[in-house]
C-alpha cells in the first residue's frame, strides 16, 4: 500500500468522522430571516402611486405655466392694440418759463419713450399744486389770512 493510497484512506476516515449537519431549527431561522428581508418588496410596489403623483404634479405645473404664459401674451397683445388706437398725444401743461422749456424733452428722446408713459414737464412747485387742494396751501407766514399786531411795550 503506497502513501497516496494511505492518504486517501485516511482522508476518507477523517471525512467519516465529521459531525452531523445543522438542525431543522437553523433552516427555520434562516427562512424566517430571508422572508423578513424580502417582505418589504411588495411595499416597493407602493412607491409606484407616488411616482404617478409626482408626474401629475409636474404635469399640472407645466399646464399652469403654459396657461399663464399664453394669458400674459394675450393680455400684452390686447393692451398694445389699445395703446396703438389712442393716437392723441398725452395732455401736458405748456411750459411757461425758460427753465421749463429746457426741462422739456427733445423730440427725438420723446419718441424713444414707450407710448404708455406720460411725461409731465412741470417744476416741483407746479407739480405739487396738482396734488394739493387750494385750502391746504401754506405760505411763508402760514395758512389763512395774515393778522398783524403792533405793540409799543418794550
Amino acid at each position: 500500500m503506497n502513501d497516496d493510497e494511505d492518504r486517501t484512506n485516511l482522508e476518507r476516515l477523517i471525512a467519516s468522522a465529521r459531525p452531523a449537519g445543522p438542525s431543522q431549527d437553523l433552516d427555520a431561522r434562516v427562512r424566517a430571516a430571508l422572508s423578513a428581508k424580502t417582505l418589504p418588496q411588495p411595499m416597493r410596489r407602493l412607491e409606484r402611486p407616488d411616482r404617478r403623483l409626482w408626474f401629475a404634479v409636474a404635469a399640472s405645473a407645466l399646464v399652469a405655466a403654459s396657461v399663464g404664459f399664453l394669458g400674459g401674451r394675450l393680455t400684452a397683445a390686447v393692451g398694445g392694440r389699445g395703446v396703438a388706437q389712442n393716437d392723441s398725444p398725452p395732455a401736458t401743461a405748456a411750459p411757461s418759463t425758460a427753465s421749463e422749456r429746457r426741462e422739456q424733452p427733445e423730440p427725438g428722446a420723446h419718441n424713444l419713450a414707450p407710448p404708455s408713459v406720460t411725461t409731465v414737464p412741470l417744476n416741483d412747485e407746479r407739480l405739487a399744486t396738482l396734488f394739493l387742494r387750494p385750502r391746504s396751501r401754506e405760505g411763508m407766514l402760514g395758512s389763512g389770512p395774515v393778522r398783524v399786531e403792533i405793540s409799543q411795550l418794550p
Partner: protein, 164 residues
Amino acid sequence: MASAAWLGPLYEQFREELFLTAWTTLRRREQAEDAVHAAVVKLAALPTPPDDAKLYLFRCVRNAAIDLLRAQARRAETGLAHDDWFPAPDAAAPGAFDEETLASVRALVETLDARSRETIELRLHANLTFREIADLLNEPLPTVASRYRRALERLGERLQAPHE
C-alpha cells in the same frame, strides 16, 4: 430594502458546509448555527449580491464564528468543548468504520493545532477546495496545501502508532 432572493438557494446548496465551517471554529452546535444565522442575516441586507457569493457567504460565516468565539472568551467561559462531538447519521456508509475508530480519529484531530485542524475540517468536512480554503483564510494556496499535507501525515503517524 435589499432583495435576498439569491441567498436562499445558496444557503440550501451549502447549508451543511456552512454549518461545518462555523463548527470548525466554535465546536458547539448551537453556536455554529447562531454564526450561520448571523451571516445570513448580514448578507440578506446587502443591496446587491457580491461577485463571488459562495466565498463571501463562507467568509461571513467564519467571521461570525470568530466573533462568537471572541465574545465567548470575553464572557470568561470555559475553553472549547472537545467532547462536543456528535455522530453524523449519514457521514459514512453503515459499517464502513466502527464507532471506536471514528472516536479515535476525532480525538486525534483535536490534537492538531487550530490552524491545521481548521484546514483539515474545511477540506474534509466542509468539502471546500484548497483554493476556497486559501481565499477563506486569506492565505496563499501553497501554504494551505502544505499545511494540509503535514497535518494529514501527522494524523496518519499518530493513528498507526498504537498498532505498531
